[in-house]
Chain length 257, copies 2
Amino acid sequence: MTHPSPSQLAYIPFVSVQNMMRLVNSVGTETFIRDLAGYIEQDFKRWPEFEKTSRVASHSVDGVIELMPTADTEHYGFKYVNGHPKNMHQGYKTVTAFGVLSSIATGYPILLSEMTVLTALRTAAMSALAAKYLAPESAKVMAMIGNGAQCEFQALAFRALLGINTLRLYDIDPHATQKAAWNLTAQGFEVQCCKLSQDAVKGSDIITTCTADKQYATILTDNMVGEGQHINAIGGDCPGKTELHRDDLIRSSILVE
Amino acid sequence: MTHPSPSQLAYIPFVSVQNMMRLVNSVGTETFIRDLAGYIEQDFKRWPEFEKTSRVASHSVDGVIELMPTADTEHYGFKYVNGHPKNMHQGYKTVTAFGVLSSIATGYPILLSEMTVLTALRTAAMSALAAKYLAPESAKVMAMIGNGAQCEFQALAFRALLGINTLRLYDIDPHATQKAAWNLTAQGFEVQCCKLSQDAVKGSDIITTCTADKQYATILTDNMVGEGQHINAIGGDCPGKTELHRDDLIRSSILVE
């Protein structure tokens, strides 16, 4: 059986992590996030045009692997993303991702891209976009519970879209807080490291919880959260990955993205 | 925000179509299919160990894009595959595919591979493996309805596993039949081109239908199929992609893979 060499039609561009970082750095992270939030907002305005498919999750003892497909009439796309909190101890990242964009007309992929960086940026942009509509307009101070890599993207997004410049950090691992504080101070934020989560939360206008464990944890208890505070709870996206106390949820207005 | 250059852990091997063809040709296509059928058979014997997830299909006017995930306790894998019958007219293939194999422990991909060639080989190996258990042992002659690229893989698989060497070809497009006949004769098959599908089917021990249209077609009508004939119906894998008459199905023993 003879096989001709591949058609030019079979080649597709690939965006590596390095290329993505080069792009983000050339634009500037906050500008990138602001533009990204603009695209997300446009997509929400044409929500009915999208094919909505539940993410397909494969759960294991230590983590989860998910496929997230969607489509409109022109493009199909999916993201592959994992979540493995124990990875950090072995030099791997907790969350990595890649994705493919395809043509609906031919079914051919037209772009293969890293989405580890993109997921961090998109999550941050979406959080800040939601807060722009839902948080008190006068918000100035944000508590950040969970100080892993994602919290830095969150901070940049909330400054880009809401002008938040004062942060109170807390993590069960003080080293994570120190590292985030160092990086965020270098970015011009006013940062306060807290030894207790309630110290971070008290008096903050916005509370971002940004944790990844499947430990059925309660990051925020009921008595910690006051009237008018906006909670941006990112981590609880599958069974076991909880962050909020049940009573917090009951007395809140909830918007799920 | 600083970003270290990628860890070596972030690089994964990629198998291109050219690499896959080099591998298949170095082993020999029929040997490759025979070995592949062996692995498939082993996997069927440990069926309960797999996570069974329905394929996730995105249907459009001209075709379908599907994700097919599965996992055991060590590995997770998914295939991306499209089906666009009109593609042929524009120089694209009807079916293309790629896939990723990942580690359950870390969620990291460990292999990215073309699966256009692999899908053709795997479909052929699976067909012949099923026929090894289900077709009459004395089978010598196979009818092939639908003479696109897949039919050549099917022929090689049925020769590799069942010793079938006599083929009767039919396609609504006589050029497809001519091309397949040319290639298969070169491979040492005894080939007869038929002007009517019933001529191909009559007296054949095995009937392979191998079509891709979503036209609610009936490739085999009830009166065409006789007692003891084994039908290997490949094409009908989603709504609209039909091949068999309802009455053929009613009086058959059916095994769905």
